[in-house]
Symmetry: C2
Subunit: 301 residues, 2 copies
C-alpha cells in the first residue's frame, strides 16, 4: 500500500502549496481521495497515470476538496478515456458536475458513475476480492465523510517444504491455499496448518478530513495501520478549530492514541504557521508515531 | 495599458502551461479576462493583488476558461473581501457559481453581481469615465464572446507656455482642458487649439478567444491597437481547427490584417506543438507585427 500526497494544505491553492488530494495505491487500484483545484497538475508532477484512476472519493463539497474535479473529468475526456469513472461523494456531486458539463456542452465520452452519499452511518461503498472501502462519517460544517480502506485477508501461503515432504500433487495447491486440510492416499489427514503459513496481515488506511475532534470515529478506526487525520490548527488556535469544525494536532493525536492506530499522518495545515514541524511536535506529546504529510511526499504503508 | 498573461494554452492545465486567463490594466482597473483552473495561483506568481480585481469577464463556459472561477470566488471570501465583485459571462455562469457555493454552504460575504450575456450582437457591458467594454460575439462550439476594451478620449493637455503668455488664471484651466475657448479681459478670444495639445490617443484592446475564423468581427475591431486572437492550431491542422471551431495562426493573422490592427498577440496554443515560435512564423507571413503570448509574460500596450 502506497500513499501519494498531491496536496495537504487548507483553504486555497498557493504557489507552493496545494489543497487536499491524495492517491492510495491498494490492491491494483489507484484510488483518488479528494480533488482540490490543481489536482490534475499534481498528478502530472507525481507522474501518476491518469488512466489508472477509476475511483474518486470526495469527502465533502468545500472547494479545497472538490474544485479540481470538473477539470479532471474534462481532461479524462480529452485524453480519450472510455473506461467507467466512479465518483463517490455527497449528494450534490452529480448535480454540480452534470451542470458544469452541460453548460460547456462537454459530456464525457466515457461512463461517469456517481455514488452519492447521504447516510450518517458508516456505509460500504466499494468492495472487490482484495479491498473494501467504507465511509467514516465526520463532524464538519457540512456533510462530510472520511474513508476507511481495508485490504481483505489474502490466501494462505504454501509451505513448499511441507507439500514436498508429503508429495502432494499440484492440483491440490489451490484448495490448500484456501485453508483446506488434505487426505493422503494412505488415509492420513494433514492439517492445513502444517502445509501453509498465515497470509500477510491485511493493511488498513483511514482518511479523516475535514473534521473537528470527533471521538465517535474511534470504534470504527480502531487499530488501523495508518490514520490520516486533519490538523488544520495547533492548540494555540483551538478556539478557531472549534469554531470552524477543524481539529488541532493535539486532537488528531488524541484520536490516534485512543484508536490505537499504527501511524498517524497529519495534514490539512493552515498556512498561517511558519513551519509544519510544529504540528509534529505538538502531536508527538500525545502519540509517538507521527508523520507529516507534505505535497509530493509518498508514504509506503 | 498593460496586459498580464496568466495562462494562454489550450485544453488542460499542465505542469508548465496554464489554461486561459489574463489581466488587463486599464484606467485604474485590473480586469480579469477568463479564469481557467489555476488562475488564482498564477495571480500570486505574478504578484497581482487580489483586492484590485473587481470585474471578471468570462468568454464562454468551457472548463479551460472558467473552472478557476469558483475557487477564486472562494478565496476572495477567505481573504475577507467586502467589495462587490462583478462577473460578466454567458447565461449559466450564475447558476453554476451559486450551485457550487450552495453545496459548500460557502456564500460570499461580499456582493457577487452577475451580468449574464445572451445577445448575439455586440453589447456594451461596462462603462465609466475612462473605459468602455463591449462584447465581441465569436463563433465557437458554444455561446462565446470576446471583449473589446476601449479607453475614452481623455482631457486635452494644457500648453503651459501659451497659458503663461496670455496670463490666463488657473481657475480657467479646467474648462480649457475640456476644450473651451477663452475670452481675455481685453475681449480677445483665444482658441482652445492655441492653449492645448491633443490628448493622448486612447488605446484599445480586443480579446478574441475561443473562436473559429470569423470575419464578422472585423468591422468591430477595425484599427484596434492590440488584438489577442486565439490560434489553437497551425495551418497543417486546419481540418482540426475547422472541426473544433478554433483558428489557425494564419487565420488569426488574416483577421489582424483585414482589421488593420496595430499588433496581433497570439495565444491558446494546442500543446501538440514543440515550439510556439511556429505560430509566429506562420502568422508573420500574413501580418507583420505579431507577438506571442506566454504564461507570465507582460505586454505594455
Amino acid at each position: 500500500m502506497k500513499l501519494h500526497i498531491l496536496g495537504c494544505y487548507a483553504a486555497t491553492p498557493r504557489t507552493l502549496t496545494n489543497p487536499t488530494s491524495q492517491v492510495l495505491e491498494i490492491g491494483n487500484h489507484m484510488f483518488l481521495i479528494d480533488c482540490g483545484e490543481g489536482t490534475q497538475v499534481q498528478l502530472r508532477k507525481l507522474k501518476i497515470k491518469f488512466s489508472r484512476i477509476n475511483h474518486i472519493f470526495i469527502s465533502h463539497l468545500h472547494g479545497d476538496h472538490f474544485f479540481g474535479l470538473p477539470g479532471l473529468i474534462s481532461t479524462f475526456r480529452l485524453l480519450g478515456r472510455d473506461k467507467e469513472l466512479h465518483i463517490y461523494g455527497p449528494k450534490g456531486t452529480k448535480e454540480a458536475i452534470t451542470l458544469l458539463l452541460k453548460l460547456g456542452d462537454s459530456w464525457t465520452n466515457y461512463p461517469l458513475v456517481f455514488h452519492e452519499l447521504t447516510s450518517k452511518d458508516p456505509q460500504l461503498v466499494f468492495e472487490d476480492d482484495k479491498v473494501k472501502v467504507e465511509t467514516i462519517p465526520l463532524q464538519h460544517r457540512i456533510y462530510t465523510n472520511g474513508f476507511l480502506f481495508k485490504e481483505k485477508v489474502g490466501e494462505r501461503k504454501l509451505n513448499i517444504d511441507a507439500v514436498a515432504e508429503y508429495k502432494i500433487d499440484k492440483c491440490y495447491f489451490r484448495n490448500i491455499k484456501r485453508g483446506k486440510d488434505i487426505t493422503l492416499e494412505d488415509g492420513r489427514v494433514i492439517s492445513n496448518k502444517v502445509l501453509t503459513f498465515d497470509p500477510p496481515k491485511p493493511k488498513s488506511y483511514a482518511y479523516c478530513s475535514d473534521t473537528g475532534y470527533f471521538p465517535d470515529i474511534i470504534g470504527q478506526i480502531q487499530k488501523v495501520d495508518t490514520l490520516y487525520h486533519e490538523s488544520t490548527f495547533l492548540e494555540s488556535e483551538a478556539h478557531l478549530a472549534n469554531k470552524t469544525k477543524h481539529a488541532t494536532a493535539k486532537e488528531a493525536a488524541t484520536i490516534a492514541q485512543k484508536a490505537e492506530v499504527g501511524t498517524l499522518i497529519l495534514g490539512h495545515y493552515s498556512t498561517r504557521y511558519k513551519s509544519i514541524a510544529l504540528f509534529k511536535e505538538e502531536a508527538s506529546e500525545i502519540f509517538p508515531k507521527v508523520e507529516l504529510a507534505d505535497d509530493g511526499k509518498v508514504f509506503e504503508l
